[in-house]
């Protein structure tokens, strides 16, 4: 038979038996919907994370007090819980002298209340050493960045400047920072505003930068310890090795104290790994529903073959070969798969759109997730069609004609 005639025969069964087509394709539609929706949502999660962390510099290493995590399951807790290490200028000196380290940014963060023209908002205050922060200097929108000699000057993030108060904050404005619990405060003059969405990844977007000197005075404590030290490695590809060197260097002065040295990429990578696992688990669930759908298709097709026994016998009697019949019914299944997959992709896009907007997850129906829905749908229905098609092909014409 010519392909066009095969197609016409297949379409005939669609027309003459719509209910059958619909009932049998329901399982496949659901399977494809779940595959597409799940792939899209997880793809969205994935690219959302990627977007947020993707511009992260690969040459950054983070040092912070405390160990990364407690003892793992089944692990014996270490005999004496280690004190978190206290990071200060000694550490900065040591790190600066390690080969492979390009720049060191000691950071201290504190939460404070920002008061501007009678309104208050809670913000994060970052103490920094201005001369080290070339990266911040280049993302100034208006005004200028801090210099080491600054004292009561602050650089404000775009978010705070634009969205926190009724009036926008501009360079030259006066602001006041309260330390909420102690009632201490200090006045600052705004030196500059950062560009929109250009906040460094070691700082949140509601952040005010001041010098360490100013923050030390604001906090008013005897000891001023850094909350973390960011390190930029000279060679991004050597960042792991540099991190190890830093770890070793710090071990000398922090014996029995806990601290963590970690290239920021590691955290990003393990996050991606988890997302990948979620993605494949979701796709797996979709596959299972597809398989259930395939069993449904197989059943419905068995019924169809049974119903059409007489017709198949007739076709064989007037000269159809077993292969003619086999191909007709395989294609019947494949066509069901194609149509239901297309419906499934459309519904899947809708579902993922709805899920995405309800759960506030970024989602996008990518070409590849639509394609995998289509491929799986068609492939699995065709496979499901093999047994019934074979059954039809192997019918004995005389017996088949006697049926009905």
């Amino acid at each position: 038979m010519r392909p066009i005639d095969i197609l016409e025969y297949v379409l005939l069964s669609f027309k003459s038996d719509r209910r059958r087509a619909f009932m049998s394709s329901l399982g496949i539609i659901i399977g494809v919907v779940s595959i597409v929706a799940m792939l899209s949502v997880s793809e969205g999660l994935y690219s959302g994370v990627n977007e947020r962390f993707g511009d992260m510099e690969m040459d950054l290493i983070n040092v912070r007090p405390g160990s990364n995590m407690g003892p793992g399951p089944g692990e014996r807790p270490s005999f004496a819980p280690e004190e978190p290490a206290e990071l200060d200028d000694r550490d900065v000196k040591i790190i600066e002298n390690i080969v492979g380290v390009k720049a060191v940014y000691p950071l201290k963060s504190a939460s404070a209340l920002l008061s501007f023209r009678g309104d208050n908002a809670s913000v994060r205050v970052m103490g920094i050493t201005p001369s080290h922060h070339e990266d911040l200097k280049v993302v100034i929108d208006r005004g200028r960045f801090l210099v080491d000699s600054d004292y009561k000057a602050a650089v404000v993030s775009y978010e705070i400047a634009q969205n926190f108060f009724r009036m926008d904050i501009s360079p030259g404005n006066r602001i006041r920072l309260y330390l909420s619990e102690e009632g201490r405060y200090m006045d600052f003059k705004v030196a500059g505003i950062l560009k929109e969405d250009e906040d460094p990844n070691y700082a949140p977007d509601d952040c005010i930068f001041i010098t360490h000197k100013a923050l030390e005075e604001l906090l008013g404590r005897d000891e001023y310890k850094y909350s973390s030290i960011s390190i930029r490695a000279e060679d991004a590809s050597q960042v792991e090795a540099t991190a190890d060197d830093v770890d070793e260097g710090l071990a000398r002065i922090h014996r029995d104290e806990a601290y963590t040295v970690e290239p920021t990429t590691t955290r990003f990578e393990s996050l991606l790994e988890v997302l990948n696992m979620i993605k494949y688990a979701l796709a797996g669930i979709g596959s299972i529903s597809l398989i259930v759908g395939a069993i449904g298709i197989s059943n419905v097709m068995m019924l169809t073959v049974k119903e059409r026994t007489h017709e198949i016998g007739t076709m064989k009697a007037i000269g159809a070969t077993a292969w003619d019949i086999r191909i007709l019914y395989l294609l019947d299944a494949g066509m069901l798969g194609l149509v239901s997959s297309l419906i499934g992709i459309i519904l899947g896009a809708l579902v993922s759109g709805v899920v995405g907007s309800i759960a506030r997850i970024p989602q996008e129906v990518t070409f590849s997730s639509a394609l995998s829905g289509l491929l799986f749908g068609v492939l699995i229905t065709t496979i499901a069609g093999i047994y019934p098609a074979n059954k039809a092909a192997m019918l004995d014409p005389i017996e088949a004609l006697r049926a009905e």
């Binding site: 038979m1 009697a317 077993a322």
Partner: protein, 225 residues
């Protein structure tokens, strides 16, 4: 020229553990242009013989020679090919496909032959017109009377321009008037040179035929006019 020849043809059906013999050594010859009536009491094996001659079934002994070719040596696929290209089968119960139009039913053998759509459509239309159904092309056979259905079946049997027409009680389900119509068509086909082998219970029918073969209990008991 001899179109069909059987030599000591045997057929047995397996029923449980036993093989029940139905055809017990049939020797017959059908020449080109003949219109042969095959008669005999119910259950004597007429349909079994027709099925074997029509390549729908295989004998359990002896041989069938179709235009010099021994059918026993052919594969299932090759048998299907012979059904498609050489044989026109007409059944007592019509065996038309209700989901398809009459036109498409008649086209079907030519679809299997992969003939070009235009040519086969024209031929199917001509054949249906020839049996007086030119006004029922797009009807489904379901909506036709028995006589009309059998006429569609005859048109279908002619679609592949078969070398022989095998008709197993073609008028068995029809009333008198339809029977006459069908037999007139068959007669005309034979006059045009078609070779026909037809099973019938009705002695009346034999007046259309050129020869009669009488069967009893799996054997040919009488041949003649």
């Amino acid at each position: 020229m001899t179109l069909v020849e059987t030599i000591d043809l045997e057929k047995g059906y397996r029923v449980g553990d036993m093989v029940v013999p139905v055809l017990k050594g049939i020797d017959l010859c059908i020449e080109e242009g003949e219109f042969v009536a095959l008669m005999g009491p119910s259950g004597c094996g007429k349909s079994s013989l027709m099925n074997i001659l029509g390549c729908l079934d295989r004998p359990t002994g002896g041989s069938v020679i179709l235009k010099g070719e021994n059918l026993c040596t052919l594969s299932d696929g090759e048998l299907a090919r012979i059904r498609r290209d050489q044989i026109g089968f007409i059944f007592q119960s019509f065996n038309l496909i209700g989901r398809m139009s009459n036109l498409r039913n008649v086209e079907l053998p030519m679809i299997l032959q992969e003939r070009p759509p235009n040519a086969r459509r024209i031929r199917a239309r001509e054949l249906l017109e020839a049996v007086g159904l030119g006004h029922r092309l797009e009807y489904s056979p379901v909506n036709l009377s028995g006589g009309e259905r059998q006429r569609v079946a005859i048109a279908r049997a002619l679609a592949n321009d078969p070398m022989i027409i095998l008709a197993d009680e073609p008028t068995g389900n029809l009333d008198e008037k339809s029977t006459c119509e069908i037999m007139d068509i068959m007669k005309k086909l034979n006059d045009d040179g078609r070779t026909i082998l037809m099973v019938t219970h009705d002695l009346e029918m034999t007046r259309y035929c050129s020869r009669m073969i009488q069967m009893r209990d799996g054997r040919v008991v009488q041949e003649g006019i």
